[in-house]
Symmetry: D4
Subunit: 221 residues, 8 copies
């Protein structure tokens, strides 16, 4: 019990709810956090919760969660009604980056924001991106998700005036392994004004979008 003390006041301070990064925690620790939140009636978003660790959670914890294996996210306490819709577009090049793109979408949904997901707009076939450009420009924030060489970030930011958040992914091999190449490409982009988050950090991109939308003014916890 004394091992954790969640930051339930965070919403009042930074506008977003508490989330739990599960990767470095044991199943026992995660189970205890869920039990504690349940007791307090708090909603909770869990990220990077792999299927093996999920299966080792206590049964009541497992039952209480809305778990999505592909994104390794789980939600306790359900989704709120949508506060906003159509303000955030999530763009990625293909099937490989979808898990991270959807982690962002789930995180936004957990905070009441419904995003548009565009999953077929890679740079190798530029016309697919061009066809969707008018659609993308209608959003206030674009979250771009790409691995390998991350050329999507520059192409996109050169074509739209919206806030663009780049999420480099660890998709790729050889020099692309681990995502550093895509990350550096986003940071070094010749298209100005790109904002970048950590590799595979769909969760962080969603939070950056929420900060931008200004939908996180101090609210009662």
């Amino acid at each position: 019990m004394s091992e954790f003390r969640l930051d339930w006041e965070r919403a009042g301070r930074t506008g977003t709810s508490e989330a739990v990064l599960c990767e470095p925690k044991s199943a026992a620790q995660i189970g205890a956090i869920i039990a504690h939140a349940t007791e307090l009636g708090q909603r909770l978003l869990l990220t990077r919760l792999g299927p093996r660790k999920f299966s080792r959670l206590p049964a009541p914890a497992r039952d209480a969660l809305d778990y999505d294996e592909a994104t390794r996210t789980a939600i306790l306490g359900g989704l709120p009604a949508a506060r906003g819709t159509g303000r955030v577009a999530i763009v990625c090049g293909g099937t490989s980056d979808l898990a991270v793109a959807r982690e962002a979408a789930r995180t936004l949904a957990f905070e009441g924001e419904r995003a548009t997901l565009l999953a077929d707009v890679g740079v190798a076939g530029l016309w697919r991106l061009m066809e969707r450009l008018d659609d993308i420009r209608r959003h206030r924030v674009v979250i771009a998700v790409a691995g390998m060489e991350g050329a999507l970030f520059s192409v996109l930011a050169g074509l739209v005036p919206c806030a663009v958040i780049a999420v480099p992914t660890s998709i790729g091999y050889g020099v692309a392994e681990g995502g550093r190449t895509a990350l550096n490409a986003a940071l070094a982009s010749c298209a100005s004004g790109l904002a970048v988050v950590n590799i595979d950090n769909g969760f962080g991109a969603a939070h950056a979008a929420l900060r931008i939308l200004g939908e996180n003014p101090p609210r009662p916890a």
Copy 2:
């Protein structure tokens, strides 16, 4: 002449004017760009223009520029009237990071945005940051500038709900040399929703802020 072809239509596409990164260009190339812009009556922001290269520009180019050595920026065609004020705060820990902080401020001013500069809020003396917190929270976007270990990014993002753009600087020595440590600290922050730009990229942070403010809708070139 055929060597460059500036992107004057950029404003209509992404909402920000053309800028010239001077570091990799020769004085002759920069002089030709300025002459060309002058001929067309275009305003121009020049970044990373060191004092030695500035002094080697043709005299008419030098005279036409508003040059600021500390930030290594120059402006051709003067500043526009302020479109917005008090929406962007630029925060840095001390005198060492000021050059980058002011590059951001100059870039914003070039696009008509007047930023608030807070230059004494480092983490080693936390009370200085605390005193200014209410002031900082009043802004829609906070640009945080820090070198060395970049702890400022996490502390700040944990305390304010605004959009926070982290600009790591190359200030530091040993493991901090070159800015990678501050950059990685910003990307790996435990405070969620930080948006990061390249090392020493005050210019890029300003452009990210402009995209966030939505003050870059298509305008006539």
Copy 3:
């Protein structure tokens, strides 16, 4: 037998007992070391002993050990009476860094020092750290344990006058993976006088604390 020759005289020379780093050793090698120590009546601390390797130790060895899976440490010969109490505080940000924090606590206990563990004082929610500050300042040595961007090290060292030992952990992903980001943040801290040990090295931090306390003068082996 001829494969190892433990340094039983170490206590007389540097003030701390022999310890065995188990990760690179085979179960057979560890078993032989335990048998040898048992024969000599020597106490022994084993670190980085994973549960699989522990389960492959000979049964008598397993029975003789006080094994703690979470910290991957085992103690042969029991804990001594406490020589000192309340002189070392171990501080970490949350549940993820607890294993390393407790490795430090176990190592101190093995040498007769009882440490205070404070496990809920991360930087993202700064008030949790502030509440505990007076308590922390009462100790002569503070061991700070943090992963990700390691901002805790700077914040803490800027607030307390005690000796502060930073233990960066490998907790984190993307650019934080492996712990280099937290390590570099500790080394590059703007708060002066931080002393740093290797990534995940709770054991080493405890030994550094013992050296500082001066509780390791030459004693009979």
Copy 4:
């Protein structure tokens, strides 16, 4: 004299003439090589010959060379008549990458190949590339030169069927400094079939193009 022994038979073996990388050699060494080649009546291409080192060459050597400061190349023995024209296009994003692009053009010219140089086709303003696409596709080999994040490589290779040789440049700062980011982007490109050479290696790209054109069959030395 005994210090060097040029490989005049190289043309007969690999189809390209001897070239001298000047950066690591002293002015005295370079002067001796030029004198030796002059004596033998051999043509010579010198690369990475900075203006300071050029000015320290013996006067007769300086007079015998066709020196181009911008590309740091010098030619001894003049250019041959063009063997081929319009088969190689050299494409770069702007003024900053021109020096490397022209090193490639000079190297090709030294071997009798006249290349087309297209210098205004960066990715941040995609329409500039699109306008030139039909022109580019008419060539058998495209040498693409780009620094910073190197998105040009992927965009171009996704649009043309020709052989594409990527030359990453060291243009950029922060994470782009030194050219590794552009290099890795070229190697990790999602557009398949890109061939990559070392950072800033316009010379090597030209030689790769010559190998591809098959215009380097064994000829008399």
Copy 5:
């Protein structure tokens, strides 16, 4: 279904067919792609499809594929008649690099090109390479595959006038682990005109060869 949208028009644009990188995709995603291609009657090359993931594909997908475990490639729709033969030589030093060499051969075969495979020409025993030199020189393109220190690339490119594509492999340990040493050796080669692809990228080398052969002019999709 809406998750992917393959680029069937690629052949018309860049001359090579669609391929699927399987490593970052789930078995479900790959199965859906195969089903979709089958429906459209499209041929498909799948790369980096490990045996475990292959075994988890739906049975009809598995049955439809010509799977080769050693190269982790699968072909849907069979091989076309050979368009070209004897124009590409694939050279590697030994048994360890064969998997990558054969991935290149399979990719070429999928596009109708039959390559010559020479698998016993390492540098440590130089005579083996020398014996084969006349044979190698008869080809227009040489794909050289090597791990460890990659000396083969320089030796080979210094001896033949053909286009040489270097494929560094991840074979090796210590400083060679992961393939960076071989990659850098290829890029830094003292033999000019080497063209390099990503580590272990036999697929990309084959596509580069096809671009060079000019056998990828626009064809009907």
Copy 6:
């Protein structure tokens, strides 16, 4: 004026006085800081102040400083009477590391601590270290300064029971260039309980020593 706001209260909080890292600051900025401190009657330690920058300070600032070129440190307001003597030993291998060793000694002296400097105890000639061992062991804290491979840290920490602070230096070339090799050697030492500071950070080592000595309890500013 508004550019800086020194942390004069630091002594009350962490026990050590304000210091100024001069490397990233302009001469004008440093001059202003000195003027400000002079006005307030505050003592000041300036580090990493190279001779060129020192010579560009305003004459009154220069005159007020006790400048030491070898260590690039300057002291404003003189040294205090010694509070402690003979508690800290500073050990280094030879003439090359002396500048960093003396930066530590000057920093300690600025805070009233007189250290013992032992400058001839490298590892290549082990007997020199052995001769001094009894002398070294008499101190409570040992600051070890070493570059290249940093073997001194392990040898020393294996022989003495005191607190040992390792200061890796940037002395060395090839793989030792920049000091990372010595830094990593200190962190990975097989001798337990070493505390490490940033490369070339003699200042930080001195502050760590002061924290350890407990001579920095809250005092009036």
Copy 7:
């Protein structure tokens, strides 16, 4: 069969027999090599042959081999009579580095050289090394094996006049993980004349020793 072509003439050229690096080869490939060597009556040394891969070899291959799991080496054709004894000492710090030390010993034995193994001479307890010094100095070549910070290399080379070959090992965690720290320490040693081989390369150290002993003059294959 056509997949490999061993270099049986190697002994005549470089004085050492053919060896097979098993890690990157499949069990089928290794089995074929053993069958081929058996047929030709050739002896063979196999390195980096893990127990799982060994167990998957064809039964006749397994039976023909003298396999040692701890060093992951296997010998086909038995050991020759000793040509030399007592000329090579292999020194390591403890149990963790023994596997690599013994790989060197086995490789030497395979070539007829009997080495002396000293396994308890780490730097943290320097007296253990000192006691053995006279013994070590009697050998012509010393192979030193160490991981972590590799201080053993410098200490040893500073004390003995023999040829010293450093084998860094991958033993260690945090900054020592993978062996780069020990490798760099060996290369940057302040003790001159150390010769270094790749991480964990006991095999290569043995071959270097054989070259030094001059016991590899051309012999009949």
Copy 8:
């Protein structure tokens, strides 16, 4: 005076005389060392002594030295009569690596060993190496000096049975900059038994050769 204490007994311990690495030392420090050695009548080898620092030495020191600018070495006390000749061959690829090759030759000469220098045997033109092979094989030790991709090391070690010491140099640009690529190539060589020293360390290679020759038994200092 108390700043340094040279290790004049080194010859008696390791067989080689004291040498002074000048790069990290000030001209004043070097001058004092020379004066001290002169007083004692000791010979001295100085390495990495650049021309600017040499010119700042006190005149008597300058006059006493035999200085060679190309290798940045200086010798105090002249060369001894040759103890050995024709036992060490120094091989390098061309003019660029000569400075390092000659540093090795000067170091050997300082210890009484006359080496053979072969400076035209690069890998890009393999026949030049082949012509010299018989000559090279006559030596007991071969020092191979190469930058860029370092293919020379593997080719040479695959062809000769002698002890081969690889000296990677910092010659090269892009990925070869600084010499890490050549260093890693030497360490990862497929030709077994290569012994490697630090980048640009001709001095260290010479000392390794002396250890191998056994010409450094204890002698009177």
